[in-house]
Amino acid sequence: MPAIVILGWLIVLPLCRAIWYSLLSWDGVGPSRFVGAQNYQQIFSQSIERGSLYNALILFVFFCLIPTGLGLIAVGLLGRGQQRSNAVFRVILFLPQVLVTVVVAIVWTWLMAPFGTGTINGLLHAVGLGPVVGPSWLGGFSTALGAIGVIAVWLDVGLCFVLFLAGVQRIPADLYDAARIDGAGMIREFIHVTVPLLRREIGAAITITAVAGLGSFTLVFEATNGGPGNATVIPGLLVYRDAFTLGDVGGATALGVSMAVIIFVITFGIRWGFERRAV
């Protein structure tokens, strides 16, 4: 089966090499020195690298938890309504996922500019909520990460929403009717019926968005390139920078391997946590 050959050559081999590289100190051109775990240590001691992990954690909230939450709420509000309007909304809300990420970054860069018509600041002003020249969302030290988070939410809510919608369709109506008979209002119904039964979908949503969030090189690179300063640096970006701009191949691969490990931990942690109590 040729698939094994392909996968083996292109995945296993690079993975092993990555681990090997991460143990060296190398500039990609000259001779290499073996330095053991030093590169890994650096991840925790160097403030940039530590900061990137910290940023990734924050973005995790934005990429993953907020869209999942909003998606759930939206579906809860929606109930199991009519098919036709659902279909239209589905197509619309899923749209961001299908756009080229670079394009998304460019548009949002404009929307987040300090002033001008059509920008967020402009809209806020029109509604009376702010001055004409507001902060540059992506350029401010404290707001930049949040701004990227907002873009991430815009991107991912559709995915979560559509996912949960599909899941909700599978919940038998009797359960809802039973709840209604027992006197549950909408909120109760949501907490006790909808959420528990969507467990698998929630797990899937968290996995997909989390993995996407930890990577997300393209969005960050296009929107801020880690700026201003180092406020929005994420591990994925650092891997690129270290390896190809700074020539620190060892450190970059150490970071890459760590990212992979983290992703695994999260993926399997979620599966374990969610599928434990089978429905």
């Binding site: 996968l7 690079p14 756009l99 080229v100 394009v103 929307l111 990577g215 690179f221 190809f244």
Partner: protein, 274 residues
């Protein structure tokens, strides 16, 4: 379920709001793209006359014809090869089940879980060693590896869904493994193959880090990189930049609108079934 008029109205309002927020940037950029070239006001703009001049400018100056061709080549190659390889492999895993097939499955899942960022460094050096950097292969091969990982997993699930009776019937009729594959399995899993193709196409079209690292000759660029360089050169020419973006995103968008059933049901029917 009975729902009151209020509930329904509330529902529609919430969804409507979400839809507006979602669409606003999209409409904005399309509108800006249609702005006359030298009128360009800062950022997203709506109130202006419509003209194609910006699109034409982006097309020619931005060499997007070249980029679109490159991107198509890469995407087509990846989609076709991944689908073929995945189908074969999945057939083997699901029907023939040789020893060690569990491990192949795990390998496949591993291939598609790992982010590009983790693998990009060794990939670069490995391909450089083979002299393949800065070629179409550099973009096709790693992407194919990831797509095959996904594909094997995806197609296998689909093949497992084919009723055993169908396969048995085929065997009884004396079909060989090959014709079993062609005549029975493939037609049954056709929708899954369509979905996989659509998804792989989208992901490949969208790939940025991979081409960024691998390519250094402008004539080989794909649209994502092309857009990036265009942005560097025309940073403040908003209309042209918007036009370029629209050109870059349009093909996938068109595919999406035609195949959205596939896309949406595809993206997670697999994740959840897992």
């Amino acid at each position: 379920m009975i729902s009151t008029l209020r509930e329904r109205a509330g529902r529609h309002i919430v969804l409507g709001l979400m839809a507006i927020v979602t669409l606003y940037p999209v409409v904005g950029i399309i509108s800006t793209a249609l702005e006359p070239l030298h009128d360009a006001t800062a950022g997203v703009s709506f109130w202006h006359s419509l003209s194609w001049s910006s699109m034409a400018y982006a097309w020619s100056v931005g060499h997007f014809d070249r980029y679109l061709v490159n991107t198509f080549i890469v995407c087509a190659a990846v989609v076709v090869s991944s689908v073929v390889v995945s189908v074969f492999c999945a057939y083997g895993l699901a029907v023939l089940r040789p020893a060690g097939c569990r491990w192949v499955l795990y390998l496949a899942i591993l291939a598609f879980l790992l982010p590009t960022e983790s693998l990009i460094v060794p990939w670069y050096y490995q391909l450089r060693g083979e002299g393949l950097v800065n070629t179409y292969w550099a973009m096709i091969l790693p992407q194919m590896a990831q797509s095959v990982g996904f594909g094997v997993f995806w197609v296998r699930t689909a093949v497992l869904g084919v009723p055993k009776s169908l396969i048995e019937a085929g065997r009884l009729d004396g079909a060989s493994e090959w014709s079993l594959l062609y005549r029975v399995i493939v037609p049954s899993i056709y929708p899954a193959i369509k979905t996989m193709s659509a998804l792989v196409f989208l992901w490949t079209w969208n790939s940025f880090l991979l081409p960024l690292v691998m390519l250094s000759t402008p004539s080989l660029y794909v649209v994502t990189i092309g857009l990036e360089t265009f942005q560097g050169a025309h940073f403040s020419n908003y209309a042209a930049l918007a036009a370029a973006s629209v050109i870059a995103a349009l093909p996938v968008l068109i595919v999406y609108l035609f195949a959205q059933r596939s896309f949406i049901s595809g993206m997670f029917a697999g994740a959840v079934v897992e």
